[in-house]
Amino acid sequence: MQRYLVRRLISLVLSLVVASLVIFAVIEIVPGDPASYMLGLNASPETVAALRDRLGLNEPVPLRYLHWLVGMLQGDFGQSYTYKVPVAELVAQRLTVSLPLALLALLLATAIAFPAGLIAAARRGRAADSAVMGATQIGVALPNFWFAMLLVLAFALHWRLFPAGGFPGWSEPLAGIRALTLPAIALALPQAAILARVLRSALVETLGQDYIRTARAKGLTRGQALVGHALRNAMIPVLTILGMQFSFLLAGAIIIENVFYLPGLGRLIFQAITQRDLIVVESVVMILVFAVILVTFLVDLAYGAIDPRLRKRA
């Protein structure tokens, strides 16, 4: 297990280095000078040059990359050109919305997908299976922002159970959770549908394995064999999907954030890109890459915890 861990860690660090190089290079290529953008159209070339100097944009490229990298390692992501505050502070603020939202959505998705997938697999080929599969088909097909608007119409405007948008902060935790409930549901449903389908097909495949027959011959009921033997063997593809979904939810919630006026990470990047706030874009993308790689690492660890054969082989 130790070697497995070390190998995963090495690959994690290497992925991060490669990702930072790619991100930095892409930002270099993107047209648009942040200095002239910040100063507006009427700024004199001298002022722009002075600002470029102050922002460090005149340094050689490798040096800037190194500064950026070392800064990040020390927790210094630079100053936002437009907001004039440290990027770290900005991101931290936005994460207090995006992270709970992603977690809540993932929790909801899992809570819906597992029973649905288990029922469909247990009753495969019958009415319950068709019903679940039909529902997931719809869940995958519906655009989630449209569904979000329906949620707002029903639960915010008609029944007034949840706020229609905005985020009050975490000073009152209950109000915060209430504000995130509808967006989380809107985000969770398509993910739940995908997860349920993956879980069902993985379970159906494992149910055909010899060891399920062995388990039944020992006297396990269908349900006991399903939960006791098939579920764990079906978890590898499910975990893969879960990891990908978490990464997507963290930054990909931009449309939903817009529908509900949530100050999340997605909106931050979007604004930073339109305003050429390249230092913010660079840093946020890097943080997202780090999050994705970290999640992949955790998923890898979970594989090892689930499947003894992986622990051994690595």
Binding site: Y211, T214, A215, R216, A217, G219, T221, R232, P308, K312
Partner: protein
């Protein structure tokens, strides 16, 4: 009083008749053999008793177990019986255990699911049962996972799981078919001992008549979903009253008519062949440990000769075969075909490759299912260039192996296992090689089909002057079709000689053990004169 009395058992699956008129009676504590070819309904019969039939099955008739009709019991009652009073083990030990759970948990689960013991007690019983099946604690702690065990050891775990609650009946469905002869002998011995010591009836399902002859007191022969003959084992084997039974027994002992070829020129010369694999490093800086799969093998195969290579799984036969075929490079020694050097990869001339062909074991996996037979059989022409009369040659090759030229328009799934193996032989023949490597080529076939394919191979050898390298774990087949035989163990040839000499007077202890382990129908049973009619 029978423990299990089956009468008029019939089964349909989605309306298709699978079984009919199956009658069996198994006494408490006896070993009962159920034999038949693949598709005869042996396994379905057993699954019907277990209530584990596939979806869409309808079983009628009666199967009285201890006075209860298994076919009428509700599922709830059946789950109590399964694992408790009736247990079952299956053919494929490599996949029969859950790879994610320890062997201790899996054995203990039998007790836990029947609420027969507390967690601690269940583990104690699991320990005891694993000891009983020959997996002692010092080498096989409860915390092992299935992938850390060999096939034979996994089958022992499956048996421990099945006997955890001391069932009255154990159904063993081809329990040793996937195992080597020596492992098979050990497992059969274990099952025999368990039946005796625990007063447990054993329903032994197998295609292997010799196994039944060796083990069972009573036997039933199945064909096409029916029991064609049943009775006490010895009289049944001696009398051979039913035509089908007789044909099965004859086929299982079949020796194809063949003349030993006069020794020709040296065709295949292997000298000092070494094949090594790198194993994963034990730590980051240590060198890769090496596994010598083939360790200095030397032999010569002459033109027109039939040479056998026997050994257990993992002995290096397949690795050696791959090197001979020029698929993997050697790390030492050399292989020559005629005067030319066999090398792996692109360096090897197609003309040299064309001089040897191979037929593999699995008639289902060794063909591309999306190609027609014509294309499949014509495939080796890429080594020689496609001749103008390729189509006619394919037709001729199919004709030679006993198929119709019209079959070339069909797809592979339209053929039975035996027919597929004939097509594989046609594919090997089409470019007129000097040597055909037969890698377990008849191991997956039923006895009667196997006899036919062996006859075909013998005939082709005579007519084309072919040399065969016949690789098999089945000693009786090797004995019946080869001139010389080599016994391989742990990468080395431990004994080599004329086939009859090696089989009648083996010199090496290992060869002796192999021959002794192979089950045989007693010679005395082959004289039908003193058959005792039941």
């Amino acid at each position: 009083m029978s423990l299990l009395a089956v009468s008029d058992l019939a089964l349909t699956i989605h309306g298709v008749p699978i079984l009919r008129d199956v009658d069996l009676a198994i006494a408490p504590g006896e070993i009962f053999g159920l034999v038949g070819e693949s598709g005869s309904g042996k396994s379905m019969t057993a699954l019907a008793f277990m209530g584990l039939l596939p979806h869409g099955s309808l079983a009628t008739g009666e199967a009285l177990f201890d006075g209860e009709d298994l076919l009428c019991l509700p599922e709830r009652r059946l789950t109590r019986l399964r694992g408790n009073d009736i247990a079952m083990i299956f053919q494929e030990p490599m996949t029969a255990l859950n790879p994610m759970k320890t062997i201790g948990d899996q054995v203990a689960e039998t007790l836990r699911v029947h609420r027969a013991a507390t967690r601690a007690e269940a583990r104690a019983v699991a320990r005891d049962r694993l000891d009983r099946v020959g997996l002692p604690e010092d080498r096989f702690p409860l915390t092992l996972y299935p992938h850390e065990l060999s096939g034979g050891q996994r089958q022992r775990v499956a048996i421990a799981m099945a006997i955890a609650l001391r069932p009255k009946l154990l159904i063993a469905d081809e329990p040793t078919t996937a195992l080597d002869v020596t492992t098979q002998a050990q497992i059969l011995d274990l099952l025999r001992g368990l039946a005796r010591d625990e007063d447990m009836a054993l329903l032994l399902i197998t295609h292997d008549l010799a196994v039944v002859a060796d083990m069972a007191r009573h036997v039933a022969v199945m064909k096409d979903g029916r029991v064609v003959e049943a009775g006490a084992t010895e009289p049944l084997f001696r009398a051979r009253r039913e035509d089908y039974t007789r044909r099965l027994i004859v086929a299982s002992e079949h020796v194809p008519a063949r003349r030993s070829a006069p020794p020709g020129a040296d065709l295949l010369t292997v000298s000092g062949a070494v094949r090594e694999y790198l194993l994963p490093r034990p730590s980051a800086l240590a060198p890769h440990p090496r596994l010598r799969a083939v360790d200095g093998v030397s032999f010569t195969l002459r033109a027109g000769e039939s040479l056998g290579l026997v050994g257990e799984s993992g002995c290096g036969k397949s690795t050696l075969t791959r090197a001979i075929l020029g698929l993997d490079p050697l790390q030492g020694g050399r292989i020559r075909l005629g005067e030319e050097e066999v090398t792996a990869g692109r360096k090897m001339a197609p003309a040299l490759r064309a001089r040897m062909q191979v037929v593999f074991q699995d008639p289902y996996g060794s063909f591309n299912p999306r190609h027609r037979v014509e294309r499949l059989v014509a495939e080796p022409f890429h080594l020689t260039g496609r001749p103008r009369d390729a189509r006619d040659r394919v037709a001729a090759a199919l004709d030679e192996v006993g198929l119709k030229p019209a079959d070339m328009a069909k797809y592979i799934h339209e053929f039975s296992g035996g027919q597929r193996q004939r097509i594989a032989i046609a594919r090997a023949l089409i470019i007129r090689p000097d040597l055909i490597v037969l890698d377990e080529a008849v191991s997956a076939l039923d006895v009667r089909v196997r006899a036919q394919v062996l006859d075909l191979l013998a005939r082709l050898q005579q007519s084309h002057g072919l040399a065969y390298l016949f690789i098999s774990h089945d000693l009786s087949v090797v004995r019946s079709v080869t001139d010389r035989v080599m016994v391989m163990r742990a990468g080395r040839i431990v004994e080599e000689g004329a086939t009859e000499a090696v089989f009648t007077a083996p010199q090496e202890a290992y060869t002796k053990a192999l021959i002794a382990a192979a089950p045989r129908i007693p010679d005395a049973w082959k004289e039908p004169a003193d058959a005792t009619r039941p």
